[in-house]
């Protein structure tokens, strides 16, 4: 009897969540597998990972690297409150958040003394990623790194110099297989004055195309701009 009640409750919750996404097309559905980049940890640097958000709210992470095979690692269950998705990694104490109103999945993460960002593109269903929980499976997945062809430098706004204003901007975006930058979104913007110049520089940038290498999926990436003023007197 109790089991039946719990099953009905779980089913009701699942249906409620499904209703939510079907009723609100502007809300990103995180369920599925995503290719992501984590950045901002000075000890580790940038990390390329795969995240899987299951309908039962379980979260898995894998780290595809060129010469190693890692199984899926369990993270905390993903939670949805209003439009914010949260989950955490107990191994390093990082708590991840994402606003599901963005064009793709991504947001920021925080640990005790650190904070950074993450950005993803959907890998879609049914794609053989070569990552398996079976340690005997020797299938490998190689992610070719994005190679910048044009990395435009932003102009430092004159008004910012006059006002002695410094700042930091992080823009996350998607690179399509032709190497063009698409769907930029500001993840961090400490001073509004740097918005236009940062976006102009990013959209003037491009990467080496990889269509011929057979992987036609867009890739997530982020770029940070640190605007500094050095005193000369």
């Amino acid at each position: 009897m109790l089991g039946a009640v719990l099953l009905i409750s779980f089913t009701a919750v699942s249906f409620a969540q499904d209703d939510r996404w079907s009723q609100d097309p502007g809300l990103l559905d995180p369920r599925g597998t995503w290719t992501c980049v984590f950045f901002g940890n000075p000890a580790i640097g940038d990390e390329r990972v795969l995240l899987s958000f299951a309908p039962d709210q379980s979260t898995l992470m894998a780290m595809p690297e060129e010469d190693s095979l890692r199984p899926w690692l369990p993270l905390s269950r993903w939670q949805l409150e209003d439009e914010t998705l949260t989950f955490s990694d107990s191994r390093n104490g990082r708590v991840f958040e994402a606003n599901l109103r963005r064009t793709t999945l991504g947001g920021d993460w925080r640990a005790t003394n650190l904070r950074g960002g993450w950005w993803c593109t959907a890998t879609g269903d049914g794609i053989e990623l070569g990552i398996s929980a079976d340690p005997n499976d020797r299938t490998r997945e190689t992610l070719v790194p994005l190679i910048p062809m044009v990395m435009a430098r932003p102009a430092f706004p004159r008004q910012a110099i006059r006002g002695g204003i410094e700042g930091r901007v992080v823009i996350c975006f998607v690179v399509d297989p032709t190497g063009n930058v698409r769907d930029p979104e500001f993840v961090e913007l400490t001073e509004e004055i740097f918005r236009a110049t940062s976006l102009d520089a990013l959209m003037s940038s491009s990467y080496r195309p990889w269509l011929e290498r057979g992987n036609e999926k867009p890739r997530p990436a982020c770029r940070s701009f640190l605007y500094l003023l050095d005193k000369t007197f």
């Binding site: 980049v37 950045f39 901002g40 940038d46 390329r48 960002g117 950005w119 790194p145 994005l146 910048p148 990395m151 430098r153 932003p154 430092f156 004159r158 910012a160 110099i161 006059r162 006002g163 002695g164 520089a201 890739r219 997530p220 990436a221 982020c222 770029r223 940070s224 701009f225 640190l226 605007y227 500094l228 003023l229 050095d230 005193k231 000369t232 007197f233």
Partner: protein, 162 residues
């Protein structure tokens, strides 16, 4: 453009003399004030030489109050700085500040004079004192902008995360 900027500065620098005289009845009574008032007006209109001449008349022929004298010296400093003569301006500011170290305009004028000489550290120090005395002074922002534009080197560090 540069001339208009200097006139603008001059107007701000000297405005206080006329304003304070209008607001404070104690300084209206006293010989020489009409020359100092006329001098303020001339400098505000960009007639620096005339303003300097009238200020000297007001200071030398009559006995203005200490407060008026300090303000007049600050105006002389501002006028000479507006003419691009910082070496003549600075001693007037020094004398004004010695008589009254609570006048933010004197510090502001001296800051601008040091800026003209390229002595940015001294310019910034005087500007900081002016801000301490009156944080809402608009002219301070303008001078600070000029100091920053000359003395700060911008740098952008970019990093890709993928």
């Amino acid at each position: 453009m540069g001339h208009k900027l200097l006139v603008g500065f001059a107007c701000c620098f000297v405005a206080s003399t006329v304003w304070s005289q209008a607001m404070d009845n104690r300084t209206i009574i006293g010989a020489g004030n009409e020359f100092l008032s006329a001098a303020s007006f001339a400098i505000r209109m960009g007639q620096y030489d005339e303003g300097i001449r009238l200020t000297h008349l007001g200071l030398n022929r009559y006995q203005p109050s200490d407060r008026d004298r300090a303000a007049a010296l600050s105006n002389l400093c501002g006028a000479h700085a507006a003419k691009g003569e910082p070496d003549i301006a600075i001693p007037y500011c020094d004398e004004s500040i010695e008589m009254n170290d609570k006048d933010w305009r004197a510090f502001s004028n001296r800051s601008y004079s040091y800026f003209l000489k390229g002595m940015l550290k001294e310019a910034e120090e005087n500007l900081a004192i002016a801000v301490d005395i009156d944080p809402s002074a608009k002219q301070v922002l303008q001078i600070r902008g000029m100091i920053n534009e000359l003395g700060l080197r911008p740098r952008v560090i970019m990093e890709d995360h993928q």
